[in-house]
């Protein structure tokens, strides 16, 4: 790929999604954008880029942004955050939320595996939570992945990566090659199309925030900005989950890591013993 073409795409993606495209991701451009070119009857990536340059076609720019920002996702990805959610964060809020209200925001919900995993954890302890008002708001920049998330249909391959078989039995129905998540789980999650570069005001305060493996695509100022605004949105005693390869060190002083709880953060001003 020519340098000026790469720079053009990198600039477009940065503007529209905050995504930082680095040279080592050229292969992703090829593999993800070639199908879009074909769909539109274009010969290949080169023609797609010239079309983008000449027409500023809004629909095409959207498709390109969505294709490049989509993450691979699986149920209970990395396990640890879900264990921490169940064993440390929920018990803390159970004590502190006397109004029995908890709002959870999954900020990069992708195809739904993360919010549905949280919903299943709650369902596993339903005797405890059924009298609570728990809202799971799941957002993503891509309308396309949210459509899949809302349908809750997964392939055999997708339900085998991370999902314990007992949960497959309990919360899924098989329909030919497709595994459909049950309505009781599906109804627990509210999906919304949302760009993290936009104003958070419409989302309202939340108690738990999952923002895993998204910030890695942003440059430093964008990371600081997003985390700063997340800090305003999150309750003073709320919890933030970042990806295991992510950190707040040197990016923001609004959050601090919870000692020996990898990927879990609280507001810097929160009491030391908030989560143990």
């Amino acid at each position: 790929m020519r340098t000026e073409d790469f720079d053009f795409l990198a600039k477009l993606l940065k503007q529209r999604s905050g995504l930082m495209l680095t040279q080592d991701k050229v292969y992703l451009l090829e593999s993800r954008l070639t199908p879009i070119a074909r769909e539109r009857g274009l010969a290949g990536l080169d023609e797609l880029i010239s079309k983008l340059r000449s027409s500023r076609d809004e629909g095409l720019m959207n498709d390109v942004t969505e294709a490049m920002t989509t993450n691979e996702s699986f149920f209970f990805r990395d396990n640890t955050p879900f264990d921490l959610f169940r064993d440390h964060v929920l018990p803390m809020l159970e004590k502190r939320r006397t109004n029995k209200k908890i709002r959870i925001w999954c900020a990069a919900a992708s195809t739904g595996q993360e919010p549905y995993s949280l919903a299943m954890i709650l369902k596993e302890n339903w005797h405890k939570w059924q009298s609570w008002n728990i809202e799971i708001i799941a957002t993503d920049i891509s309308a396309q992945v949210l459509d899949k998330a809302k349908r809750g249909h997964y392939s055999q391959f997708e339900v085998q990566r991370g999902l314990p078989i007992q949960m497959l039995i309990k919360y899924f129905k098989q329909d030919g090659e497709v595994w459909k998540i049950s309505d009781e789980i599906r109804r627990m999650v509210n999906y919304r199309e949302f760009n993290l570069l936009d104003n958070f005001a419409s989302l309202g305060q939340c108690d738990i925030l999952f923002c895993r493996n998204v910030l890695i695509y942003f440059d430093q100022p964008t990371k600081s900005d997003v985390l700063g605004r997340m800090s305003q949105l999150l309750a003073a005693d709320g919890a933030l989950f970042l990806g295991s390869a992510e950190t707040v060190l040197g990016i923001t002083d609004k959050f601090r890591p919870v000692r020996s709880r990898r990927g879990l953060y609280v507001q810097s001003a929160a009491p030391d013993d908030l989560i143990t």
């Binding site: 396990n79 055999q156 085998q160 991370g162 314990p164 078989i165 039995i169 098989q174």
Partner: protein, 121 residues
């Protein structure tokens, strides 16, 4: 090093599974059917059994039931690994004492995910 008994009548599947499991640091033994597996579990119980369903002589479910009923076998974790991919088979396997269930085709990531859910990794 933990031991894994791979039970499958297909030599190709056994070889693929062995390669993945050895990469995950398991010591691998192979059995060609349920009866062979039962004999091998009696003499030396592995930590985990990766178990096919449809096999000649004795199938995977028969093996599982016989093995779970045997007081002479220190009970291993059992992960089914089969082309049977409908809910009724899955339920039957779990009811008979399987700990996890893999629907073929499988790859390293699926084995790794399922084994770590069983606390093996």
């Amino acid at each position: 090093m933990k031991q894994c008994l791979v039970v499958d009548d297909s030599k190709v599947i056994r070889r693929v599974a062995r390669r993945i499991l050895e990469e995950l640091n398991f010591e691998v033994e192979e059995a060609v059917d349920g009866k062979d597996a039962l004999e091998k579990s009696l003499s030396n119980t592995p930590a985990v059994v990766l178990l096919d369903w449809n096999m000649p002589v004795m199938d995977g479910l028969e093996y599982l039931k016989a093995m779970r009923a045997s007081p002479n076998i220190a009970q291993p974790i059992v992960v089914f690994c089969t082309t049977e991919n409908d809910m009724s088979h899955i339920r039957a396997a779990i009811e008979a004492g399987a700990n996890e269930y893999i629907m073929k085709p499988f790859d390293r990531e699926i084995i790794e995910a399922k084994f770590s859910q069983c606390g093996l990794l």
